[in-house]
Assembly symmetry: C2
Homo-oligomer: 221 residues x 2
DNA sequence: TGATAATGTTGCACTTGATGCAAATATTCA
DNA sequence: TGAATATTTGCATCAAGTGCAACATTATCA
């Protein structure tokens, strides 16, 4: 009997299940890239993966979910990477490095093709946005595991949100970047300018403002 | 013949069309609130609005879109409100005030009920996230109309993104707030602490960092 | 006013995504 | 091997959404 990476034994049953899932995913992805998402039916996918149409839904809850199946793995790697950062590192740096290392690992050709597919398939836009929301949730979790005070826990929710903004906008800028650029270097540069911009926004706001008690800190009425 | 608010004549045809649309929207919303989104079929809606199932799709492209039909009006009001801010006001303040005034106008009972509906209808989560993306696009537009340099235009994309973060997180915090709180006051307090937090994130990042050229400014390779 | 063009509405047939269920098949393990 | 368990499949069914052609209403203008 085979064994999975975490030492848990994997019988024929589990192995076949995993293989079938992979077969379906690959069949679907190749069809999506060939004909487009909308022009591919579940029957097409099932046929190429050599399973029944009904079985498709035993592995994926919907056609859309196949496109975003990679997400869970990505989120896990991101969480692990953040957890691995030194405990005394400031949160902003821990996310930046953790996120970037997860991105660099994930950003292969397949991922790029997938991004393009999503970008020119209007049907997928809503589900694509949900991706960020899910990731934001995971990011909040990961950051809160490091938080050392209630106050910091609250701030982490906000940090996760703005980091997702960085990811979104960074992605856009990256897509306009000439090909051949190093993704990792780009990402660090982008984050650098991102933090700087946040500071500028903050300064602009302060200039015209009197001090205001934090609404996150206490439930001020 | 009647006239619309913008002086354009409205014949029977246009008037009936508008009325039918409103009837469908109300029929749908009342059914959604009574039975839930998933438990309501298009035929139910069509029946209550007294049109054929086929006609429903003449007015709305899908069941989901009815729930988010208010969005266009909101975005327009937001853009108008921002455009109405003094030209020399810093961008951060212009968005804050513009956005808040649009929110205060929109936040009636119906909107709150709708928010709750969306929150406990998993089917709508993806489309709900798309709402923010669309709004972010409009916000970027509105801000860029005020921008006075290319550099500022680029920064506005980022500002729009982080402001949407504020909207998202602010909404969450607001929903945990005791009822009876003034929304407008809350929103201003929240934005105050938001800008402050951005500054803190920025400072935390600077502490551990050397200077980095802005990647937004030039297409540095 | 009345003919005609333009637009709106409806019914109908059809495709596809998705779900429940029960029969058939494969796998595990004592 | 054979009983228990899990997987796969086919089939029926529902609901969302689209194209199309027939029909109804409204607008236009000679």
């Amino acid at each position: 009997m085979g064994r999975t990476s975490d030492g848990h034994t994997e019988g024929r049953r589990e192995r076949k299940r995993r293989q079938t899932r992979e077969r379906i995913e690959q069949a679907a992805m190749s069809l999506f890239l060939e004909r487009g998402f909308d022009a591919t039916t579940i029957e097409d996918i099932a046929a190429r993966a050599d399973v029944s149409k009904r079985s498709f839904f035993d592995y994926f809850p919907s056609k859309e979910e196949v496109v975003f199946a990679w997400q869970d793995g990505f989120a896990d790697r991101m969480m692990t990477a953040i957890a691995a950062r030194p405990a005394d590192e400031p949160a902003v740096k821990a996310v930046q490095h953790g996120l970037i290392s997860a991105i660099v690992l994930a950003a292969d050709e397949r991922a790029m093709a997938l991004g393009e597919l999503v970008r020119n398939t209007p049907t997928l836009r809503a589900r694509d946005q949900l991706k960020y929301a899910k990731l934001e949730g995971k990011l909040t979790e990961a950051l809160r595991l490091r938080a050392r005070s209630e106050e910091e826990r609250r701030r982490m929710r906000l940090l996760a949100a703005v980091v997702m903004s960085a990811l979104r906008v960074g992605g856009e800028v990256w897509n306009q970047e000439p090909p051949g650029t190093s993704l990792e270097a780009f990402a660090h540069r982008f984050f650098g300018s991102f933090w700087k911009s946040l500071g500028e926004f903050s300064d602009e706001a302060e200039k015209t403002d009197q001090k205001i008690p934090s609404v996150m800190a206490e439930s001020a009425r």
